[in-house]
């Protein structure tokens, strides 16, 4: 489901190995990726347009069937990412905490969550939660997704925070800032810039992984597609449509993330 390695060696020379499973986020310096983005985007739009225009039956029928699924996919993604950011920030801070117990709790959480496949976690949290408290299915799906992504996000935050040079902390501390003031006024605002690209990646990866909640019976984009396909027997046509819609959404998101990234780091020469 997820493979992510990130290694930042600060001070001597920055080496950043960033392998995520999210969509590639275009950077202006990467000419190949930028044109690939345009090619895929226009290709996807043209495919969608052609399918709808030249073969309204069944594509138009499918297109009319899935919009509420897209909405649910968005709801799950946006709520899960918001919750995951909060969990991630807490976990990230916990991971670098000097308090032994907080550190242990945060680290154990990350270890456990990263060791269990997301699909299994979804089943587990959804049905385990069901036995204890009554939560609606959408909320249960959001909780499951954010518990999983919170752990990954925690690692991103930790890496982003530790990537800020120690000198910054030393300077702030010698100016009389407390440890938490240093964190909130000096380190985090700077770390945000490093953190944003991988967070964007996670966001897109999460959007794609929300397709897994369809196994819980949450009527997301994939579920709607499957319902349509298994009733009409138009498997190829339906999944073509579902794939194109997912592709268009992730491409738009990756462009947005790259735009935000540029805005945030316009004063930094890369």
């Amino acid at each position: 489901m997820k493979q992510q390695g990130k290694c930042v060696v600060e001070e001597t020379q920055p080496i950043v190995i960033d392998v995520g499973d999210g969509a590639a986020i275009p950077k202006p310096s990467d000419k190949g990726l930028v044109s690939a983005w345009w090619l895929s985007f226009i290709g996807a739009l043209v495919t969608l347009g052609c399918l709808l225009y030249f073969k309204p039956n069944p594509y138009w029928r499918i297109f009319k069937f899935i919009p509420d699924g897209i909405l649910v996919t968005f709801q799950v993604t946006v709520s899960a990412i918001a919750l995951a950011l909060v969990i991630g920030l807490i976990t990230g801070l916990g991971r670098i905490s000097r308090n032994k117990y907080i550190n242990l709790v945060a680290s154990t959480y990350v270890e456990v969550v990263r060791g269990v496949p997301l699909l299994v976690q979804l089943f587990y949290i959804y049905y385990a939660l069901g036995r204890v408290v009554h939560v609606p299915d959408l909320l249960a799906a959001v909780i499951s997704m954010s518990v999983c992504y919170g752990a990954y996000m925690g690692e991103v935050f930790r890496a982003g925070i530790t990537a800020i040079a120690v000198g910054q902390t030393e300077a702030a501390r010698s100016l009389g800032f407390t440890r938490s003031q240093t964190m909130y006024y000096v380190i985090l605002p700077q770390a945000w810039r490093t953190i944003l690209p991988p967070v964007g990646n996670e966001f897109i990866a999460l959007l794609k992984d929300t397709s897994l909640v369809s196994i819980l019976g949450v009527a997301d984009l994939l579920r709607r597609g499957r319902e349509f396909a298994s009733e009409s027997f138009l498997y190829f046509e339906t999944f073509t449509m579902v794939a194109v819609v997912y592709l268009i959404i992730t491409l738009i998101l990756s462009k947005l993330v790259s735009f935000m990234e540029e805005r945030l780091s316009h004063h930094v020469k890369r």
Partner: protein, 246 residues
């Protein structure tokens, strides 16, 4: 035409002889107890499996069962991944357009299962509520057809029952043998769930589905099923799995 007929007959005669037992691969979504399910020994078993094995003995074919997820089961048949589907498939007109069916081997109806404490009598009393069913089963179609009821589809009917037990949905609609097993026999559920009613509609008939035009396989299966009925073996099998012979 005559030549073709003779050839088909010859083929049937050949394959039907016990010495040349043909293997027919049946796809089944083994999550539909007691019709077809995976038992503690990880073997696909159930009423339909017994029935096909009896039919195989009579008509001279060896049934082989392959577990396939329900929502892709018809696509796999069209793609020729297996010879037939024996998975409690109700014969419907829509399905007849894309596949051929054997003679019906069982009659079922749709049952509504609700929590014991619910006051609803039947599906009309559940307006505005959410009913679960396995994706694109006739139970799911029945829910979708009912006005004012929200439908929620699941990959497996067992997941729907778990959600009903946990209170996320207000009822489950499925074939009555399955409903009886979950609501009356399963330890966890029998104290919490009950069958509210049988949804009034025409009887549904289970048939074995084969690829359109696959006469050879279809005839073999039909021959076996006819022999099983003639000998009264089907009654025994029904009794074994359902407790009643009808």
């Amino acid at each position: 035409m005559v030549k073709k007929l003779v050839l088909t007959l010859a083929l049937v005669a050949m394959t039907a002889s016990p010495t040349l037992a043909k293997t027919i691969v049946f796809a089944t979504d083994a999550t539909w107890p007691p019709m077809e399910f995976v038992n503690a020994d990880k073997k696909i078993t159930g009423l339909a499996v017994d029935l096909m094995e009896a039919a195989g003995k009579e008509a001279g074919f060896t049934p082989e069962f392959k577990a396939v997820a329900w929502d892709g089961i018809f696509a796999g048949l069209a793609a020729g991944k297996y010879d037939a589907i024996c998975s409690s498939v109700t014969i419907t007109d829509e399905r007849k357009n894309t596949m051929d069916f054997s003679t019906p081997y069982m009659k079922v109806r749709q049952a509504l299962v609700i929590p014991k404490k619910s006051a609803a009598k039947c599906i009309e009393d559940l307006k505005g509520k959410t009913l679960g069913a396995q994706i694109s089963t006739t139970g799911h179609f029945a829910v979708k057809k009912t006005e004012g009821v929200k439908d929620k589809s699941y990959d497996e009917v067992g997941l729907a029952f778990e959600d009903l037990y946990n209170g996320r949905i207000d009822g489950v609609v499925c074939d009555d043998p399955v409903a009886k097993l979950y609501a009356l026999k399963k330890d966890n559920y029998k104290d919490a769930l009950k069958i509210a009613c049988i949804i009034p509609a025409d009887d549904e008939l289970y048939g074995v589905a084969v690829q359109k035009g696959n006469k050879e396989t279809l005839e073999l299966i039909n021959k076996g099923l006819a022999a099983v009925t003639a000998k009264g073996l089907d009654k025994e099998i029904l009794k074994k799995w359902l407790g009643t012979a009808d």
